[in-house]
C-alpha cells in the first residue's frame, strides 16, 4: 500500500474556554484511512478535539491542516463536506427517520434513494423509515445518526461515543458497519469511554487527559504495554484527574 497524505495535521493547537485551556496538542497527525481511537475520562477534551476537526470552532492557537492544506475556520463548504460528525447526543430533526438519514445527502443536492434505503436496512432501521425521528429511542436515534453520517459520503467520520446508548446486539452491528467503512477507506476518529471498543476498532489510540496528549500508539501497544503511568492507571480503571 502506498503511503497516503495525512488527513489532518495539527501543529501547536490549543483551545481555551475563557481562561481555561481545555485542549493542548503540540503535534498530531491523523493518517487518511486510519481509525484513530481517542480515550480518556470525561472532561479530557475529546469532544472539543472533534469540534475542531469538524471546523465548528477555530482553535485559540495553532494550525490545523486538512488534506494537505491549511484549514482556517470558517472553511469553505466544499471542505466542510468532506467531514461529518455523529455527536454524543444525536440530534434528530423534526422529520421522518428516512428524511433525517437522507438529510446530509440532500444538502449536497443528491437524492441517492437506493443508498438511503440500503443504509436504513443495514442499521436495522428499515421498519422505522416513516416514523417521526423524535419518537425514536436513544439507541435507534444513535443508529439513525450514524446512517445519516455515512449517507453524506464524507471521507472523514468523527464519532463521539457512537455506541453509548446501544444494546449489545446493536453494538456488534454498529462495529461491523464501521469495519465496512474502514475497508472503504474512510478515515474515522472514534471518541469513546469504552476502551474495549477502541481496542476492537482503532488502528492507533490516543489517550487524552486534562486536554493533554498523554500517549499515542498503535492500539495493541497502548493497551498491552502502556508507557505512561497515567495511561496504565486509566486502563486499570483507576480514577485519574
Amino acid at each position: 500500500m502506498t503511503p497516503r497524505a495525512p488527513a489532518y495535521r495539527l501543529t501547536a493547537v490549543r483551545h481555551d474556554y475563557g481562561t481555561r485551556t481545555v485542549l493542548d496538542v503540540p503535534a498530531l497527525e491523523i493518517a487518511a484511512g486510519e481509525t484513530l481511537g481517542i480515550v480518556g475520562p470525561s472532561g479530557a477534551g475529546k469532544s472539543t478535539l472533534l469540534r475542531l476537526l469538524q471546523f465548528l470552532e477555530r482553535p485559540s492557537a495553532g494550525a490545523i491542516e486538512f488534506g494537505g492544506a491549511p484549514a482556517a475556520v470558517p472553511v469553505p463548504v466544499t471542505t466542510a463536506r468532506r467531514v461529518t460528525t455523529v455527536f454524543q447526543r444525536p440530534f434528530m430533526l423534526d422529520r421522518s427517520v428516512r428524511d433525517n438519514v437522507a438529510f446530509g445527502r440532500r444538502l449536497r443536492g443528491e437524492r441517492a434513494d437506493g443508498e438511503i434505503d440500503a443504509l436504513l436496512e443495514r442499521l436495522d432501521l428499515a421498519a422505522l423509515g416513516k416514523a417521526r425521528a423524535r419518537s425514536l429511542s436513544g439507541g435507534e436515534a444513535q443508529r439513525a445518526a450514524l446512517a445519516r453520517a455515512i449517507a453524506t459520503g464524507a471521507e472523514v467520520l468523527l464519532l463521539d461515543e457512537p455506541a453509548a446508548n446501544l444494546d449489545p446486539g446493536h453494538v456488534a452491528l454498529v462495529e461491523t458497519v464501521l469495519r465496512e467503512q474502514q475497508t472503504k477507506g474512510r478515515t474515522i476518529v472514534l471518541v469513546t469511554h469504552n476502551t474495549h471498543e477502541a481496542r476492537r476498532l482503532a488502528t492507533r489510540t490516543l489517550f487524552l487527559l486534562g486536554g493533554q496528549v498523554i500517549e499515542l500508539a498503535p492500539t495493541a501497544a497502548l493497551f498491552d504495554a502502556p508507557r505512561d503511568p497515567r495511561t496504565r492507571a486509566f486502563l486499570a480503571g483507576e480514577l485519574v484527574y
Binding site: 461529518t84 455527536f87 447526543r89 444525536p90 444538502l107 449536497r108
Partner: protein, 199 residues
C-alpha cells in the same frame, strides 16, 4: 389591506428575524431592544408618524398616499414588522444549539442552515405571523388617522365599528364586531392546525 401588510411584514420580518436569531454581532442587543420596543409601539403613534410623513408637506408627500389604502398598508406593515421579526428571532434563537452544530456538521451552507432552523422553528414562526395578523386586524387608531375612514375606500371593520357605535347603531357595530372575532378565530384555527400537523 391587512393581507397585503401581513405579506410584506412577513417577507421582510421572517428573514430578518431568522438572521438576528442565528447571527452574533456587535449591536445585536440594541437591534433586539429596538424590535421589542417596536412590538409595544402604540399603533396610533405609528399612524401619526406615517400621517406626518405622507402629508402634503411631509417628506413622502409627493406619493399622494394619504387617505388611500396605500397609507393604511404602510402603517399596518410598520406595526406588524417588529412583531414578525422579534417573535421569529426568539423562535429561531430557541432552537437547540446542538441542532445547528449537527446541521453544520452534515455540510449545510449558511442558507441551508437558516432554512433548516426556520423549519425546526416553524411553530414559533407561524405564531409570529398570526400574532402580527391579530395585531393589525384589531387595530383602529393608525388606520383611522392615515386612511380617513372613507366609505368604500379606506373604511375597514374596526373603523366602521367606531363610526356606527358613535352614530348609535349598536346592532350593526356589534355585527361587525362579531365578524372581526370570527376572522381572529379563523386565524387561530389555522395556527392550531399547523401546530397539530407537526406533532
Amino acid at each position: 389591506m391587512t393581507g397585503a401588510a401581513l405579506v410584506i411584514a412577513t417577507l421582510a420580518g421572517v428573514p430578518i428575524g431568522a438572521a438576528l436569531g442565528l447571527a452574533r454581532f456587535p449591536g445585536r442587543r440594541l437591534v433586539t431592544l429596538l424590535l421589542y420596543t417596536g412590538m409595544g409601539l402604540p399603533p396610533v403613534v405609528v399612524g401619526l408618524f406615517v400621517y406626518v410623513a405622507l402629508s402634503r408637506s411631509g417628506p413622502m408627500g409627493d406619493l399622494g398616499w394619504l387617505f388611500t389604502p396605500a397609507a393604511m398598508i404602510t402603517a399596518q406593515t410598520i406595526i406588524a414588522f417588529p412583531l414578525v421579526a422579534a417573535l421569529t428571532m426568539s423562535a429561531v434563537d430557541g432552537v437547540d444549539r446542538e441542532m445547528r452544530l449537527q446541521v453544520k456538521a452534515l455540510g449545510a451552507t449558511r442558507a441551508q442552515l437558516a432554512w433548516a432552523v426556520l423549519r425546526e422553528a416553524r411553530i414559533g414562526v407561524t405564531a409570529a405571523i398570526v400574532a402580527a395578523f391579530g395585531g393589525i386586524i384589531s387595530e383602529v387608531g393608525a388606520v383611522m388617522l392615515v386612511g380617513g375612514n372613507i366609505e368604500g375606500q379606506t373604511r375597514v371593520l374596526t373603523t366602521a365599528i367606531v363610526l356606527y357605535a358613535r352614530q348609535g347603531d349598536f346592532a350593526l357595530a356589534m355585527a361587525l364586531g362579531l365578524v372581526l372575532i370570527l376572522l381572529a378565530l379563523g386565524a387561530n384555527a389555522v395556527l392550531l392546525q399547523l401546530q397539530g400537523r407537526s406533532r
